[in-house]
Symmetry: C2
Subunit: 252 residues, 2 copies
């Protein structure tokens, strides 16, 4: 926890640089060892938050989200998807309460009501170097199944992000941003199974995935593991991007 002086300086800086009443919260998804992970900040003992931040006064929203995530992950050019604005007038009260005994209301940045713009991000787990922000003491990956309870409405934000991601899975390719450059079909399947939280048929998955035409199979196979060596695949970026904009399913 910052000292009162530090907090005052933080609030003064925020008032000077950021738009009031507006924040961004990011649900950063990574995939590692068959588990879906989310980046979570620890402010103090038992206080967990999604990574977030504010908009500079003349900054585009997506730029701000990128900036915030660069600070938390070290990564540029993260795949980001805006998914919802959370604006319950009560949603940030908890944050205000937390600082109201320390800071005079006029000085307290968190006296503001905040609408928060939710983004979800898909990143390659291996590339991320989690770093806490000014207000927190650590930044860590948590498996989806072992998440602590989050403060404010951050659990709701996370669940909405998950729902949105699952929905997107139905008409968009997902995976390029979550997988390493090369991966095997079973590994990709595991990603889908993790996101959807259900088992898929190995053979049907492969057929369907290949039918999208967004994968290139390498000559190479993943050696070293026990059992038969699986082929390595990489995404075909051109087709992948085309599929991202055009979508998969016809619908009507």
């Amino acid at each position: 926890m910052l000292s009162k002086e530090e907090l005052l300086a933080y609030c003064a800086g925020a008032r000077k640089n950021y738009l009031p009443h507006i924040s961004i919260d990011c649900v950063v998804f990574g995939f590692h060892e068959g588990v879906m992970k989310v980046l979570v900040l620890n402010v103090e003992e038992g206080e967990w938050y999604l990574p977030g931040g504010f908009l500079l006064k003349e900054e585009p929203i997506e730029t701000a989200a990128n900036r915030i995530l660069k600070e938390r992950t070290g990564l540029d050019d993260i795949f980001l998807q805006q998914f919802y604005v959370f604006g319950d007038p009560e949603r940030s009260k908890e944050h205000f309460e937390m600082y109201k005994d320390i800071l005079p209301a006029g000085e307290n940045w968190f006296t503001n009501r905040f609408l928060t713009i939710g983004y979800y991000a898909l990143v390659d787990f291996q590339d991320v170097n989690p770093m806490p922000d000014e207000l927190s003491i650590s930044c860590n990956w948590f498996g989806l199944k072992e998440l602590p309870e989050l403060k404010l409405d951050h659990t709701q934000i996370l669940n909405t992000a998950l729902d949105t991601l699952r929905l997107h899975l139905n008409y968009q390719p997902v995976g390029y941003n979550l997988m390493p450059k090369e991966f095997t079909m079973p590994e990709l399947q595991k990603l889908y199974e993790t996101i959807l939280d259900k088992k898929l048929d190995r053979r049907n998955f492969q057929r369907r995935m290949l039918s999208f035409g967004i994968l290139n199979r390498s000559e190479q196979q993943r050696k070293g593991g026990a059992h038969k060596a699986p082929y390595l695949y990489a995404f075909n970026i051109e087709n992948y991007k085309a599929a991202l904009t055009e979508g998969f399913k016809g619908g009507w």
Copy 2:
């Protein structure tokens, strides 16, 4: 156009009551005589805008959207769907320019940079009584094909709303909010064709629509028209709502 005094009063009221930097813009879709219509405001000669407004300081976003639309349409309980936040720092400059010669910057509400939360609304055309807001001189329906060019980024907002609506059509029922209580299958098909901007097969449309189980066929038929009398249908609200939350297509 308001007088300077009126504008000053408007701005003072806005500063007092609304959150700064945040607005709401609504794309109100109605369907009439086989044409998709959108509500558009006329501020002055050749200046067209989507209906919009601001958030009261302690007002939930959706409540604000409802309030704004009640003022424009006379309707309560409108079907609303938040679909995107538009936040380009340049997006509201045009609005500022418009008033800068009349109002001192410090007084001018539109000096603010605004992020706008986009909602689309689906309403029964017949129920709407379009009413202009304080800043405009008229509020009218325009067919999608005969829309004037809109100011600010409102054309982009409208197009994004349309894209979202089309997407939703693929996994959600649409129509309850756009159609009168009773309607014929060809009428409903016309709605779909209008939204998608393409022809559908009469017989396949009917089969598919019925397969969703969200329609009740009435004993009655629409008499009076030329040709064979079509059956009247109404939405089965329970199933409709269930389909809204659960969606249609399996996907994975």
